[in-house]
């Protein structure tokens, strides 16, 4: 009885140790993991996940500080893909981080109201707004990721979000 | 002038699932014919019972699932399941054996998983495994073959019919008088009793290669399989891999210890080797997908068949070998995706 019990416990311990060794990641593996996570993220750089960009969020996911349901622009598809990659329970996007949009939106500046203050240009994380001080500002729709970071700084509220295909 | 439109391609080969299944049934005719020659008409009765049960079970399942009866009922896949299972059962098996086996195969192994094209396990083998585990004694009550040197009890057709439908032998016989183990079964028992291969082979039921009668049935099955290969209904990868693996395993072991292990030709011509290689393992729905995958799948079945026959608990290992390899098919498929044109690997 005792030998059998010890054998089973020993086998289980050996299997567990082997599994733990296999899943341990080196520094290089960690960097590769962050790259893989970053590749799944939509690169909106909006900060809704509470990190300052997509790569910081990826880094936090890799180290276990963040969860997979924090990216509204990625939607439930990205949350599922992250769950699959990281071996966690799939979950829909947590609405506390923001609403998941049904279709992609891009920013549009009403040029008749724009005062040329460059505040939105400074706010855009991907340099999708062209313009200069006292010159007209405009959003390059193809390059806008829909992060909406330009909307709060505008002093005349002349930026709206519109469907990308419009 | 207006015309009706349709998507390309505008010509397709006049093929159909029913045609494929029909060809498989034709290819089984030599096997069935020789089986009846050596073991009497019992098989035909089992086939009739099996086919009726299969069609009834299929119709009931299709109704329950809300699917249309034609074309599924007559696509031939249920009939093939019944015929293959009947070939694996003793000719005098009681009627409820084949009926329950086929019903289990069609209802649980096929339709529960989604019907045609969706079963992960070979339905006939699932039915066989259930019967073997549930009614082991009944499953091993074979007949001696009708060849010179062995005098099987002469049972008329009516005798056969009553035996099957009552589950009891005719009044003037006992079970022992009319039944006999298969060569594989006899070999197992004799080796377990300490006999050598030579001594075991001295039994009148053995001939040059395999068992008398059985080797001819296996050759007939090989011919049927060749017919299917020629028509390109099946491809060569699984049968060749399975038979080669079986041959190699048997060769190695019998070369190392000729007295304790049967030779390769015996294994290739006994039991369900050929039936398994050409008709059972090649069931496309439950087999591996790519060519390389098929080779691994077939080889696995061959090795497992030898292992179960030699060291396992059953005389013939084809059924369980196929079922175990069915389990591994998703894994095999995942790692044997062929290289796509233009991709590095």
């Amino acid at each position: 009885m005792l030998p059998a019990l010890l054998t089973m416990v020993g086998l289980a311990a050996a299997a567990g140790a082997a599994a733990a060794l296999a899943t341990r990641r080196s520094n290089e593996d960690q960097k590769r993991l962050i790259d893989e996570i970053d590749a799944l993220l939509p690169q909106t750089q909006c900060g809704r996940c509470t990190f300052s960009g997509c790569r910081p969020y990826a880094s936090a996911l890799a180290s276990g500080e963040a969860d997979i349901d924090q990216c509204p622009p990625g939607g439930n598809a990205t949350a599922a893909a992250l769950a699959n990659l990281l071996g966690r329970e799939p979950r829909p996007v947590d609405p506390r981080f923001g609403a998941v949009r049904a279709q992609p939106l891009v920013a549009w500046i009403d040029e008749s109201a724009c005062i040329g203050c460059v505040k939105c240009i400074q706010a855009c994380p991907v340099d999708a707004i062209v313009g200069a001080s006292k010159f007209m500002h405009t959003v390059i729709a193809d390059q806008c990721t829909g992060c909406e970071l330009c909307i709060p700084p505008c002093p005349v509220d002349c930026i709206v979000m519109r469907p990308a295909s419009a | 002038m207006p015309f009706a439109t349709a998507p390309a391609p505008h010509v397709v080969a006049p093929s159909s699932v029913a045609r494929v299944m029909r060809q498989v049934l034709y290819a089984l005719i030599p096997t069935v014919a020789l089986h009846v020659v050596f073991f009497g008409p019992g098989l035909l009765i089992q086939i009739v019972l099996g086919v009726v049960t299969a069609l009834a079970a299929e119709a009931a399942a299709l109704r329950l699932r809300g699917k249309p009866l034609p074309p599924f009922l007559l696509d031939g896949s249920a009939i093939i399941t019944a015929v293959l299972l009947a070939l694996c059962l003793p000719p005098l098996a009681p009627w409820w054996l084949v009926v329950s086996g086929v019903a289990f195969a069609i209802l649980l192994a096929k339709h529960l998983f989604g019907g045609l094209g969706a079963n992960p396990f070979n339905p006939a083998m699932v039915g066989y495994a259930v019967l073997l585990v549930s009614f082991p004694a009944r499953m091993l009550q074979w007949l001696p073959p009708n060849v010179a040197g062995l005098e099987p009890a002469s049972l008329s057709f009516v005798d056969t019919l009553t035996t099957i439908f009552t589950g009891m032998p005719p009044a003037r016989f006992t079970w022992d008088a009319i039944t006999s183990p298969t060569p594989l079964d006899a070999l197992r028992t004799d080796l377990a009793l300490g006999m050598t291969m030579g001594e075991a082979h001295a039994n009148a039921m053995f001939s040059t290669f395999g068992g008398k009668g059985w080797e001819w049935i296996n050759l007939a099955t090989l011919a049927g399989g060749g017919w299917l290969l020629a028509l390109r209904i099946i491809r060569w990868h699984i049968p060749v891999a399975m038979l080669t693996a079986l041959f190699v395993c048997a060769s190695i072991m019998s070369a190392a210890d000729p007295g304790g292990y049967a030779g390769p030709l015996f294994h290739l011509t006994s039991g369900a080797s050929m039936l398994g290689a050409f008709f059972i393992a090649t069931d496309p729905v439950s087999a591996a997908t790519s060519d390389r995958g098929k080779l691994i799948y077939g080889a696995g079945i061959g090795v497992l068949t030898y292992v179960i026959r030699t060291w396992g608990g059953y005389p013939d290992g084809v059924a369980f070998a196929v079922l175990i390899m069915n389990l591994t098919v998703p894994l095999i498929d995942r790692y044997t995706i062929p290289r796509i044109y233009g991709h590095a690997r």
Partner: protein, 484 residues
């Protein structure tokens, strides 16, 4: 990379004997020619003429509308009747903006400047002039030839492959071109060799077209050009697929997602080469093409030399009209051709063949059954895909799996459809799923671009900040020095 090779494919009945039995003939002139402006790949052409204007045959009537676009020339002299949406075959009958020319029957030609001998032009000039002829790929893809040539020239040694391997059943226009106008194909080859600064040209044809082979051999010998060779390939379908042909002739594989130029090859149809010859040698821009009219639903089967814009109904009329068995009108071949809702649409640059199909020509599908995983489809796929897996994932709309199993590498040849015992419309399923996958791949591409811009901006801001801190530190040091 593993050893390249041509895999899969089918041996199909060619159905080309009747349409190649008679010599080429010009189609009859018609009163109205309709020319869709978007009948080539890329941006639609922009009209140069207005309704009511007189035009001459060969006059440019529309210019390229973008970097990848093509010129359009009037196939007849007459008047521009209208510029309006008209049903078009490449839109399956949906209207698209077209120039409608009323033919005055006089066939007066537009005065083109006399062409300079092509070998005295620089390759760049020659490519530009080829573009002005409205030349696009006449094998069916109608990609603007000048753009294709220019994008292929990257400084490496190129080789030219002329595709005369007409593998799809029913189509025989290239065969007739090579039989009767082999000299024009060879001249075009020489022009293209100069335009690409290439030293090798292989004209590939199938091994079941002896007359075309003989005609081409004679024309090559007459031209005394050692750079041009003839090569015969097997006639399995789809031997004439661009990638398959390049692998069969040059033993290399075009990388997935890449172009033939990535393996130093430019592949053009023999009809395109002939069109180049007519333009460069004879100053005739692309206004005509050879169209095969075939099928049991038309009385006579033959190849016609047709002006672009001719209604398909006129071609049928030229061939004696429909038979009583006419059932389906197909533009293209029997494996990949598009079925058209009516015959009131014009011949466009992509129209290589019209099949007036009857029940004898068609082998329609029976009712669809579930996939039994027989593997016939994987056996015949020329791209070495697993169509049964693609079908499984298409049913589940699993875009990740479809990408992994190579949906974008599917050339939609229809071989898998042909052999499926369960009669599953595989090519159609794959066509349906491609837009969703393309959209996802495009989204991934723009996400990568956004990441690049974000990283650049972050670096810029950090640089500005570090400069500012360095300036402050420097000032602090200077102040400290002064006070000490």
């Amino acid at each position: 990379m593993a050893k390249p090779g041509v895999r899969g494919g089918l041996r199909l009945d060619a159905h080309k004997e009747r349409s190649t039995a008679q010599a080429l003939r010009a189609a009859s002139s018609v009163e109205t020619l309709v020319l869709p402006l978007d009948q080539h790949a890329g941006a639609p052409a922009v009209p140069l003429v207005k309704p009511g204007e007189q035009v001459l045959r060969g006059q440019p009537i529309a210019e390229p509308g973008g970097a990848i676009s093509a010129w359009l020339h009037s196939p007849a002299s007459g008047t521009v009747a209208a510029i309006e949406p008209r049903p078009a075959p490449h839109r399956l009958g949906a209207p698209t903006l077209s120039i409608v020319v009323a033919n005055d029957g006089r066939d007066e030609r537009y005065a083109q400047p006399a062409p300079a001998p092509f070998d005295q032009l620089s390759p760049e000039q020659l490519r530009e002039i080829i573009g002005r002829g409205g030349i696009v790929g006449l094998g069916g893809a109608v990609f603007p030839t000048a753009a294709k040539l220019s994008s292929a020239v990257r400084g490496q040694e190129l080789r030219l492959l002329l595709n005369g391997a007409e593998c799809e059943p029913y189509i025989s226009c290239d065969d007739m071109l090579m039989r009767e106008r082999a000299r024009d194909v060879v001249f075009g080859a020489r022009v293209l060799l100069h335009a690409l600064t290439a030293q090798t040209c292989v004209i590939a044809i199938e091994d079941d077209t002896p007359q075309a082979a003989a005609a081409l051999e004679a024309a090559i010998a007459e031209a005394h050009d050692q750079r041009i060779q003839l090569r015969q390939v097997g006639s399995d379908y789809p031997a004439g697929g661009e990638r398959q042909l390049i692998t069969a002739v040059f033993d290399v594989e075009v990388p997935a997602g890449g172009l033939p130029a990535d393996v130093n090859t430019v592949c053009l149809n023999v009809g395109t080469a002939a069109a180049v010859a007519y333009w460069i040698r004879d100053a005739q821009p692309l206004t005509n093409r050879i169209v095969t009219v075939t099928g049991d639903g038309v009385l006579e089967q033959r190849n016609l030399d047709v002006r672009l814009g001719t209604p398909l109904a006129a071609l049928i009329y030229d061939c004696g009209g429909y038979t009583s068995r006419m059932s389906r009108l197909i533009m293209g071949g029997s494996m990949m051709g598009q079925s058209l809702p009516h015959d009131g649409m014009p011949v466009i640059k992509a129209t290589n063949c019209i099949i007036a199909a009857s029940a004898l020509d068609l082998q329609p599908r029976a009712a669809e059954m579930p996939c039994i995983r027989c593997g016939n489809c994987a056996e015949v796929c020329p791209a070495t895909l697993l169509p049964q897996q693609l079908h499984w994932y298409a049913m589940g709309r699993d875009l990740d799996a479809l990408e992994a199993y190579g949906l974008m590498d599917c050339i939609e040849c229809g071989c898998c459809d042909y052999v499926c015992p369960s009669q599953i419309p595989l090519a159609e399923r794959f066509r349906d799923m491609k837009p969703a996958l393309t959209e996802r791949l495009a989204a991934r591409g723009s996400a990568a671009a956004a990441r690049t811009r974000f990283d650049a901006r972050t670096a810029r801001l950090e640089h500005i900040e570090s400069e500012r801190l360095a300036a402050l530190a420097k000032k602090r040091q200077e102040l400290a020095k002064k006070s000490s």
